[in-house]
């Protein structure tokens, strides 16, 4: 058995390539005009360029939904699988190939509804990857059905007289899971904050969960309307160890200092209020990562055969 701990590209060969934004460009994005996913894609491409991630060593795994088309629009490796099941696939990739950069892109139906079980357990496994929840509060691809994050009373095609239940709070839910190691929230209409959040998530060693508030101009145009038009609705959580963008101070005047090490504070701040809070709720790099816990020394084929032969001896007649 061989582990691809060093790829042929990085093993003894100096890689002199530099990558431009365009190098990460896949197919032309086919989301609706005005869809927040466009801005997220741009921020991700900017991150890839900034970090100079090798396209061949980067994998985007997605589920099914509008946002899950994401990998097709990038020139990296991609796996566009099943509705709700992106996290297990990504876990399999990272468990066996820890050297790869793994990103997961999910929608709110994907992550919080059909894939909710995987979401909880992926958080607990704390595998080193970036998990993006592109939350537009609605099923878009299937044309306007209530999702777990649809606001109370908001109408949809399946609940035309409004939803019956209070929306699920993905940040709070994630913060409640054992081993949650990075939880952040950002908004796609604030590109600078979005980018900084992605960057912090990428640099975190562990499972980085980022909920991105994302506008859907077709089905939920009004949901984030107020937050977009009235910056005072937004409350920036700032800290030297979190995200602080002084340039945004002029627009976003509501600020609260929050230390991302403070789990109790994080859980309190995650409560739903009239304020929309953006920033890093929690970060803890001391938590064990599943792929590290399961890492084993590689064996050669001959070693494995020798060991198996010994094993067979135990069963010999």
């Amino acid at each position: 058995m061989t582990h691809y701990g060093c790829s042929l590209l990085s093993c003894g060969v100096i890689d002199e390539r530099t990558f431009e934004m365009d190098d990460y460009q896949g197919a032309v994005a086919r989301w609706c005009p005005g869809c927040g996913d466009h801005s997220i894609l741009t921020a991700v491409q900017r991150l890839l360029e900034e970090e100079q991630l090798k396209p061949e060593e980067t994998v985007f795994v997605s589920g099914i939904g509008c946002s899950s088309r994401f990998p097709h629009y990038l020139n990296t490796y991609g796996f566009h699988g099943l509705h709700g099941r992106a996290l297990p696939v990504a876990t399999g990739v990272k468990l066996e190939r820890p050297e790869l950069n793994v990103f997961v892109v999910m929608g709110d139906g994907d992550c919080c509804s059909i894939g909710a079980g995987h979401w909880i357990h992926a958080t607990r496994y704390n595998v080193d990857m970036v998990a993006l929840l592109l939350d537009n509060n609605m099923y878009g691809l299937t044309k306007g059905q209530t999702s777990p994050t649809t606001p109370l009373h908001f109408p949809s095609n399946t609940q035309p007289r409004g939803t019956y239940l209070e929306a699920l709070n993905p940040v709070q839910a994630t913060l409640g899971v054992t081993n949650a190691s990075f939880v952040a929230q950002t908004a796609e209409w604030i590109p600078a904050h979005l980018y900084e959040t992605l960057k912090a998530a990428y640099h975190h060693k562990g499972f980085s969960f980022v909920r991105i508030l994302q506008r859907c101009p077709v089905y939920t145009a009004s949901v984030y309307d107020e937050a977009v038009r009235k910056p005072d609705v937004i409350e920036m959580m700032v800290h030297d160890d979190g995200i602080y963008l002084p340039d945004l101070d002029q627009i976003y005047k509501q600020k609260i200092v929050h230390n991302p090490k403070d789990i109790d504070g994080a859980r309190r701040l995650a409560e739903v209020t009239e304020r929309v809070r953006l920033g890093v709720f929690y970060r803890n790099e001391a938590l064990p990562r599943y792929e590290d816990l399961r890492r084993l020394p590689a064996h050669t084929a001959e070693e494995r055969v020798r060991l198996l032969s010994e094993e067979l001896d135990r069963y010999a007649v």
């Binding site: 061949e56 099941r85 696939v89 876990t91 590689a298 084929a301 001959e302 494995r304």
Partner: protein, 637 residues
């Protein structure tokens, strides 16, 4: 199977010792131990079975398992234990009836009696503490049970097991099984050194004191039998001239996975597949392999697919209900052409069904359970030896053909123990599946050969190989493509691979004459029982042969030609089919057994079937009856 050479008997010392004792000489015997759950009967049977195999007997063991973890004590349905059929020659199935049973109480024995599990002249060694139990209800039950048992010609020997064990331990519930092992050891003249070694292996995780106590108990059983029994049973052992190993089917699957170079077993607990994961969890680490227990069946297969997509050798293992849950992912693996090995240890269904019992009813679900057209490979090992080798074959096919390979075993193979020739390991089986060399410019993600549908695999890390694998209809660049030609081509390419594989397969061998009145066709764990039934039928002058299929998808070539040489063709399977003469059943509406359905569709031959779903392996005697019945129905399909 190995050619065997007779070894000399044990000499005169024993004969002197056995003076006056009746020596029953037989070529095979079926012995079982049955107790309440938790009394260790299974452990006793496992040790005894392994010792028989190691002494050079052919052997086949079957677990007697209650479905509950703690069924009420002294209940007919709660019997737990192990049945060991062993003989001078190779034993290929569990046979028909038990010849000798050790029972810890009369109720579990009655359960076996009512199941018709015991031969009419069976020898019964029965714990007798219940006859004088302080509880009058129990005394009454004992009386009634012995009355019921007296309707047969059983030879019942009462054994004071509790009393004898109390001389050694305070709690005989933990030790009676070793006393029983001693009874078997004496009756069948087993090698005590081997037994001690096997006890040491069984209790290797326990203390030296536990081992010593168990040996004492075993020796006490032996001594009691020596002092009190007026018979012994002699089954000549024949040492194989080639090295043999003995294990159960789930251990063989686990070891086969290691031999095949697998690196990840991603699973979720389910009976009866789990014991393979237990075995692997115990040993996989030292081979650098990981058993990942996922949060559910779906995640288990998802993680395996992710690992395989990333270029690793991964498999998942499950049983019926888990197979149902995995189906969407299996379709995805077929669609994106990610190699994947899936082991399904079949149990009784539908729904939760018979979790611990054997059935062969997942065949159609395995083949057609995915929505849309998802052609892939299904194969079924027939023996424990084949469980081992099928993992190597499965990996190789999965990678060569970039598809899903399902390996269907069942509860009978999973828990059955059988000796087989020690596999010769090959380091080439361990090879990494892909190199990380750069992809030449202009090479599409699916460089399908238009004739064969085969394409080369690529994995993350390969420079210039970037693409997005997608479950959506796609073209050769893995770009989403909804146009008619792209989808039809994708379907055609995935299907063509299966035809190409079929061309590499050999026609199945016919067991018996190449032509005749009846051909019995089977698959999976029924092989031994079918062939034994065919042997007996031929001995009775009937013109019967059989053939056993390893590949179910694609079916092996030449079937039509083989079928044509027989007047009638009939499958024998452990899944449900309507009886032709049942109410409302007509030739048109009759729901036939699963392989039968496939064979009819593929060959246009009017294949008949005989199938049962008893939650037990098929008995050769019952198959023989079915053969006789079908032949009496006349010839001419």
């Amino acid at each position: 199977m190995a050619t065997k050479s007779k070894t000399a008997g044990k000499g005169t010392r024993k004969r002197a010792k056995d003076e006056g004792r009746e020596i029953i000489r037989v070529s095979e015997h079926t012995a079982e131990i049955v107790s309440d759950s938790g009394e260790g009967a299974q452990k006793c049977g496992q040790i005894f079975g392994a010792v028989c195999a190691k002494m050079g007997n052919g052997a086949w063991t079957v677990e007697i398992i209650p479905a509950e973890i703690q069924p009420p004590p002294r209940s007919k349905a709660g019997g737990s234990g192990n049945r060991v059929r062993f003989g001078t020659e190779r034993i290929t199935n569990w046979g028909d009836a038990t010849n000798l049973v050790v029972a810890f109480n009369e109720q579990v024995l009655l359960g076996r009696h009512e199941l018709d599990a015991l031969a009419d002249d069976a020898i019964i060694l029965l714990e007798n503490m219940w006859a004088t139990h302080p509880d009058p209800d129990i005394q009454q039950q004992w009386k009634e049970a012995l009355e019921a048992l007296s309707t047969r010609n059983y030879r019942i020997i009462e054994v004071p097991m509790e009393e004898e064990c109390l001389k050694i331990v305070e709690d005989p519930r933990r030790g009676k099984n070793m006393f029983a092992l001693g009874l078997f050891a004496f009756i069948y003249d087993r090698d005590l050194e081997l037994i001690r070694a096997q006890i040491a292996h069984q209790f290797r995780k326990k203390s030296e004191e536990v081992y010593a106590r168990n040996v004492l108990l075993m020796e006490a059983g032996y001594a009691w039998a020596d002092a009190n029994l007026d018979f012994r049973i002699e089954i000549p052992t024949v040492k194989s001239d080639q090295p043999m190993v003995v294990m159960n089917g789930n251990e063989a699957i686990g070891m086969g996975a290691v031999a095949a170079g697998m690196e990840l077993c991603s699973m979720y607990p389910i009976t009866p597949a789990t014991s393979a994961s237990h075995y692997l969890s115990d040993v996989f680490d030292k081979f650098g392999g990981v058993v990942h227990q996922a949060e559910d069946e779906i995640a288990a297969v998802g993680v395996a697919i992710g690992a395989s997509y990333a270029g690793k050798v991964a498999f998942t293992i499950t049983s019926g209900p888990g197979l149902s849950l995995k189906q969407e992912f299996l379709g995805l693996a077929v669609m994106v052409e990610v190699p994947l090995v899936v082991v399904d240890v079949q149990r009784g269904g539908p729904s939760t069904g018979l979790p611990t019992k054997v059935e062969q009813s997942d065949l159609l679900a395995a083949m057609f359970g995915q929505h849309g057209d998802a052609p892939h490979v299904v194969l079924a090992p027939a023996t424990i030896e084949e469980c081992f080798h099928s993992m190597v074959t499965a990996r190789r096919i999965a990678e060569t053909f970039r598809t899903v390979v399902m390996v269907l075993t069942d509860a009978n193979l999973a828990t059955g123990v059988q000796p087989f020739p020690r596999p010769e390991l090959d380091p080439r089986w361990q090879q990494a599946p892909v190199s990380l060399s750069p992809i030449p410019e202009g090479k599409p993600a699916y460089d399908w050969d238009p004739r064969t549908g085969l394409s080369s695999r690529r994995v993350p890390g390969q420079k210039d190989g970037m693409h997005t694998a997608t479950g959506l209809a796609h073209n050769e660049w893995s770009k989403v493509a909804y146009d008619p030609e792209s989808h039809e081509r994708g379907c055609r390419m995935r299907s063509r691979k299966i035809a190409v594989l079929q061309h590499t397969l050999r026609a199945p061998e016919v067991y018996g004459e190449e032509s005749g009145d009846l051909l019995v066709v089977g698959w999976g764990s029924t092989k031994g029982a079918i062939e034994e039934a065919v042997d007996r039928a031929r001995a009775q002058g009937l013109s019967v042969s059989s053939c056993h299929l390893t590949f179910l998808s694609p079916l092996q070539p030449g079937l039509k030609e083989i079928f044509r040489r027989f007047e009638r063709v009939m499958t024998v399977e452990i899944n449900y089919s309507d009886e032709p003469h049942d109410p409302f059943i007509t030739d048109e509406n009759r729901r036939r057994a699963q392989l039968c359905l496939l064979l009819r569709a593929h060959t246009l031959v009017d294949v008949d079937c005989w199938s049962r779903v008893p939650g037990q392996p098929l008995r050769p005697g019952f198959i023989l009856n079915a053969i006789r019945e079908r032949l009496a129905m006349g010839v001419g399909v």
